[in-house]
């Protein structure tokens, strides 16, 4: 793994007293390789390595740590810092229900995440209202309804012939009338380059005024993570990220890419197919996973 490689690479630095540009050059290459294998976007990796380099150069080789351990500590700290703080609380509405729009690309895990968010917050004392606003995908409305039923939580009676923006508005009204304080809107998967569908989300946001717009991203996403996340963020001003399928062996470099390009907090991670498989995000855990 990386720390073993770095320990070997930096063994010769022990007698040199200080980390210098020359003696960490090989190590930076090892870290670059690790990041690229982990699917961190190559530009994000480059920027990250620059900041590691500037932090590392000139550092005295401390007595208790080997140069390898010291260097990896710098890399780990820097990566953990970049991932942002642990923060799984939703922004709350000042009056009326808190509204959350769940958006992202096809197959990322939005519908299942809405179920998981409903479960998570019901356990925290919220009264969630699940809103199926995907009128395109076959059986998408059924899918969310089945999840809501299994949680014994109310689901908005959307139908395929309705308009997603109208569904969202109607659901918000319904939630107010029924004293439900958390409206979770499941939207259709879409490409960030589909201007018509991106515009639909933009409209929904304007009319429904959500407190949270969560971008759901698959942990195994590769280099394209920066393009998708940047477009969604530019268009909607996301409030948070939810990473799915973290129960697999994807290293999750997309997390760093998305964080770097949006500067938005990663709020939750999904770790399985069951409704209870939602956890708060821990930056240090994902940092060490990315480094491998």
């Amino acid at each position: 793994n990386l720390s073993q490689k770095l320990t070997t690479t930096l063994r010769k630095v022990r007698g040199q007293g200080r980390l210098t540009e020359t003696n960490i050059d090989e190590s930076l290459k090892e870290v670059k390789m690790a990041l690229l294998e982990a699917d961190v976007n190559f530009r994000v990796a480059k920027a990250f390595l620059r900041s590691v380099k500037s932090r590392a150069i000139g550092e005295e080789v401390q007595g208790s740590l080997t140069p390898g351990q010291q260097f990896i500590k710098i890399v780990n700290d820097e990566l953990t810092n970049m991932m942002g703080a642990s923060n799984e609380s939703l922004a709350r509405s000042e009056n009326g229900p808190t509204v959350v729009m769940v958006v992202g690309l096809q197959g990322a895990g939005k519908t299942s995440s809405v179920g998981k968010l409903a479960n998570y917050h019901a356990q925290k004392g919220f009264s969630p209202y699940l809103v199926p606003a995907d009128v395109y995908r076959p059986a998408a409305i059924d899918q969310l309804r089945i999840l809501a039923d299994s949680l014994h939580l109310p689901c908005h009676p959307s139908t395929k012939d309705q308009n997603p923006v109208e569904i969202a508005l109607a659901a918000l009204e319904s939630a107010k009338i029924n004293n439900l304080d958390l409206v979770l809107i499941d939207t259709a998967g879409r490409l960030h380059i589909d201007s018509q569908l991106m515009d639909e989300l933009h409209q929904m946001r304007q009319l429904v005024n959500p407190q949270e717009i969560l971008f759901v991203a698959d942990a195994m996403t590769g280099q394209d993570a920066v393009n998708m996340a940047k477009s969604f963020n530019d268009e909607l001003d996301l409030t948070g990220i939810l990473l799915t399928k973290m129960d697999g062996d994807a290293r999750g470099g997309a997390a760093l890419s998305i964080r770097a390009v949006t500067q938005k907090p990663i709020k939750f991670i999904a770790v399985g197919e069951k409704l209870e498989n939602l956890e708060a995000f821990h930056p240090e855990r994902i940092a060490s996973r990315i480094l491998g």
Binding site: G107, A139, Q143, G248
Partner: protein, 278 residues
């Protein structure tokens, strides 16, 4: 590559970034660049365009496979099985492929083998309506192998041309789910010894290097005969396929280029490679 004509450090770096950005992965990128830079050093390549062409040729050489697709004529019924991790596009791809066989005048039967996920059976049933074909659909929670069995058995008995089996998405790291997949294959084999004739791994073009692990595990569990790469209508290039085809020697059959029933294309190595650089 910034209108440069001569090959220098900057040009090679630009090429490396183009390859990495396409999800080709650091190891495969390094291999491709080694092949190319040695030719540069031997003065065989003098300008950027020639360099790019050599890279493309190298990629096409890896990707182009002359493995014929088993046809309905050779086997009847032709048994296809779709596998892959969660959310990649298996069910949608089955809808598209069923429609294609229907357009060619074949009798198609679908097997709703995802008996786990909420509304998976309803979703495939909708696709069977769109493709105008029949379907074996039971209920959520039923053993998926029994659906496979029933579908293949009916296909033989009622002389369908093609039977297409859907399976639940599963992460390749879950041993029990991969074992469930092995069981499905064994059950199908009981009825038709050389079936399934095609086991297609569906990969999402937005997936990074993890696709290699997916290919490795699914190949081990279900003996893959082909790959379908979906979502190439997005901005992801799907370059990870190069390392996969190189290592496992599995042909890519189709690509998915959208969510509609017609959004399926046969794989073309040259077209795919050109779009890696576009």
């Amino acid at each position: 590559l910034l209108g440069k004509k001569e090959i220098d450090e900057e040009v090679l770096e630009g090429l490396e970034e183009a390859l990495l950005g396409a999800d080709i992965g650091p190891e495969t990128t390094e291999q491709i660049l080694e092949v190319v830079t040695s030719r540069v050093e031997r003065q065989e390549l003098r300008d950027v365009n020639a360099l790019r062409e050599v890279i493309k040729e190298e990629i096409v050489r890896i990707l182009h496979k002359e493995v014929p697709i088993p046809t309905v004529v050779d086997r009847k019924p032709l048994v296809l099985m779709f596998v892959g991790v969660n959310g990649v596009g298996k069910t949608t791809t089955i809808g598209k492929i069923a429609a294609q066989y229907r357009r060619d005048g074949h009798r198609v039967l679908m097997g709703a083998g995802d008996t786990f996920r909420a509304a998976a059976i309803e979703q495939l049933t909708e696709w069977s309506c769109r493709a105008e074909c029949d379907i074996i659909a039971k209920s959520q929670g039923v053993d998926p192998s029994s659906v496979m069995y029933e579908a293949v058995e009916k296909a033989v008995r009622e002389e369908y041309d093609v039977v297409i089996c859907d399976t639940a998405g599963r992460l390749h790291t879950k041993k029990n789910l991969m074992e469930e997949l092995r069981k499905m294959v064994r059950v199908i084999r009981k009825i038709i010894p050389d079936a399934p004739h095609e086991v297609l791994l569906v990969l999402d073009a937005t997936t990074g290097q993890n696709a290699i692990f997916q290919a490795r595990e699914f190949r081990e569990a279900a003996d893959l005969t082909g790959i379908v790469m979906t979502k190439l209508d997005g901005t992801a290039k799907g370059g990870v396929i190069i390392g996969i085809v190189n290592e496992f020697d599995i042909p890519v059959r189709y690509i998915g280029v959208g969510e509609g029933i017609e959004d399926l294309r046969p794989y073309d190595a040259k077209q795919f490679t050109d779009s890696l650089f576009s």
